[in-house]
Structure formats: structure tokens, C-alpha cells
Amino acid sequence: MIYLDNGATTFPKPQSVLRAVNEAMSLYGANPGRGGHAMTMKAGRRVYETRQALADMFSCGSDRVAFCDNCTSALNTAIRGCLKKGDHVIISSLEHNSVLRPVHAMKKEGLITYDVFFVEPCSKEKTLSNLKALIKKNTTAVICTAVSNVFGTVLPVAEIGALLEGRGILFVVDGAQAAGSHRLNMSEDKIDILCLPGHKGLMGPMGTGLLLFNERAEPLPLKYGGTGSGSMSPDQPDFYPDRLESGTVNLPGIAGLGAGVSFIRSRGLEAISQSESELISVLREDLSVIKGAEVYSLMHSTPRTNLLSFNIKGKHSEQVAELADKRGIALRAGYHCSYLAHKSYGTEKNGTVRVSVGPFNTKKDIKNLAFYLNKIALCKNM
């Protein structure tokens, strides 16, 4: 199997991640932060170490790293937990449904209003100007993805952060496709809330997500319950991360995520990013000579990304992915849970075939893919 669906979840995971999960389950699988015995303390320490490693990687305080089930859960907490009645929100035209749907639901409930700023494929300046034009007096948050999960478009996060600074508008970033392969620095990029999955570029297990936030954000919890702290009060703790972490946290997942972060550090974010973007460049070149292949390149000036979307003329994206699967190649086709992206860029009819690479993919994987895609494109009866 050639796995090229790393945008959905990375596979394989590093051996160190598997080992960390196994050790957490078999050696110190007690409930972290809930008791005083040696095993629970060790479990709690492991959770803290991962928390601190993530805080260092993304530049925020370790007590402002809250573990969630996944990135969607983090985004829901950021959106529902920070917005209030009468707020106006701006989201980008490349948002995943995990941003669009909670925002749209709050609009339907009569709580907020929202607008969508169009991300111009080839101009950062126009993108910024589109966003700026939508800011109103009651705009309280701008929510945007760092990298489009459909087209690989890299949004100008640092520039948006700079634009919003000092305006009293929360800047919420969905880093689902960026973390682990793109630089994200909350402090330098003026990001107030960063929502991440643990199981994609950060190489952790599924069931791990992260809500990172700075002092300007005070998200309210969506879940209430036991936190192992302030137990004799009926009130949810008002301090973080406990405020957002009711119920037992996913110790094996968090231990694995910690090992994933160590893996990225040892390989180097820059090296991973370069290797992945080189593979995408190779694919882009190979696709350019395949008859009927249409690549959706919605890039700003520096096309450095780990994913690419395309279609083959006369074939639905699902058909192409199915044929590739028969050859042992895992691709993602369809609409990638991104109504807005397809609607905004005209790919709603066929969706797209998405190739997303990870740290373990090689040039040979891409060459094999291109070989079969050429066959698929040439064969009318396939």
C-alpha cells in the first residue's frame, strides 16, 4: 500500500509513538491527575511533559494547552466558548466544515452573524483587503485555516495576525493541515487561539486534539464535570487547563502525541516541510504531462505545501481514487468536508482527488502514483 492520505491522518506513525502508547497502557496506565499513588503521578507527569512540549512548539503557556478529542472539538470550544450573542465573525472561503458548521449553527440560532472573506489564489494583498473590508464594529473574531485541506493553499496567517492586532478581534486559526509541516508561532503570528489535531502532522494517535490559547482568550467549557481539582465546589474550575478538561484525558493518546512531537523535533520541522513540498512539486510536474489532468493550484507566492488536488477530465474524483485503490494507492476523493472551498472555487461538481504526503513518503511513491494516474487517464473504459 502506498499511503497518500496523510491529510486525513498520518500513516504510518513513528515506532516511538507506538512504543509510547504501549508503555502508557501497559506500564503506567493510571488516571492522570486524579490520585496520589506513583502510577497516577507518573501518568500526570507524562501528560504535563506533552503539554509543555506543545507549548514550546507553538509558543504559548503550558497551562493554556487543553487536550480535546480532536481538532473539531477544539474548534467548537473556541467558537461556542468565546462568541456571545450579537457578535460578528469573519471566516475564510477555504474553511473546513468544522469551522463553517458551528459558526453557521450559531447564526441559525440567532446568536451571531458571519461573513466569508475570499482567499485570492495569487494575491496575499487582495486576500487581506477582502478580509479588511468585512470588519465591522461588532466583529469579535476572525477564524481561518492556516492551510486549505482541499487545495493546500497557505493562508497569510502572520499578515492576518498583524492586521487584527490591537483591534480587539480574536484571531482563531485552524491548524489542522499545517501543524507538523508548517511553522506556526502563536506569539509571533499574533494568533489568539490555535486548534490542532494530534493525529495528523503531529504524528500522534487518533482521539487527540488541542486547543491552545493566549491570555486574550478565555474560552468557556462545552463540557462540565470532574477535573481532579477543586473537587469540593459545585462550580467548574475557573483556571486552565482544568476548566476545559472535564473527564479522564486520553493518556495513551497524549503519550503518543508527546512522542510524535519529539519525532518532529528530531527530524526538524524545516526538513519535513522541505521534503514534503518537494514531493508535491514532483507530482505537480508529473501531472502536467498527464493528458486531461487538471491541477488546482490556488497558491500565493510561495507554493510550499504537503498536499495537492487534481481531477482527470471525464472522470469523477471518486472514480479515480477507487481505481488508484485497486492498485494499492490510498488517495482521498470527494469534497473533503469543505463545502465552502468547493463552492468558492468551482469544484463542486466532481470534488477533487487529493494527494497528501507525510514524512515517510518517498519520490518512488509519487512516481508510482503518476505511472498509474497516467494509465487511468489514458484508459476510457476504466
Binding site: 491527575g33 490520585g35 497551562d63 481532579g228 477543586g230 473537587s231 482544568d242
Partner: protein, 76 residues
């Protein structure tokens, strides 16, 4: 036996304090608070190998949220 410790609301703050103290050359161990206040419920106690007030000063200057210094006498 008489014990003095720095109290934290959760293990996160306590572990952070251990780490900060360690980088200042002070050894400390974090445990579940053996003498919790019934109004506050569960929390954590940091036992310092050295002058507790020096440690407390470092922790406070590092903006690590804590519930102050507390003492208790072991009745066993």
C-alpha cells in the same frame, strides 16, 4: 513530623514548578496534598529540598499559579 509545602490546584502547575525550580538548581517533589482543606478539595503539594521561601519566590516570580505555602503536622 512537621511538613511545609507549596500548594497547587492541579498537577500541571505543580509539575511546571518542579521544572522551574530544577532549572534554578532546587530539587522538589510533587505529591498529592496529604492534608487537603475540605473546602478546596483535592490538590497537590510540592515538597522542596531546601529553603521553601526561596522556592516560593522563584515560583511566584515565574507566574506559576499556586495556593501559597502551608504546613501540617503528621499525627501518625
Amino acid at each position: 513530623m512537621h511538613y511545609t509545602y507549596i500548594k497547587f490546584e492541579n498537577q500541571t502547575y505543580g509539575e511546571k514548578a518542579v521544572s522551574v525550580l530544577s532549572s534554578n538548581g532546587i530539587k522538589a517533589s510533587l505529591r498529592r496534598n496529604p492534608n487537603p482543606n475540605h473546602k478546596q478539595g483535592c490538590n497537590f503539594a510540592l515538597f522542596v529540598n531546601g529553603n521553601i521561601w526561596d522556592a516560593y519566590d522563584i515560583i511566584t516570580r515565574s507566574h506559576i499559579k499556586n495556593l501559597g505555602v502551608e504546613s501540617y503536622r503528621d499525627r501518625i
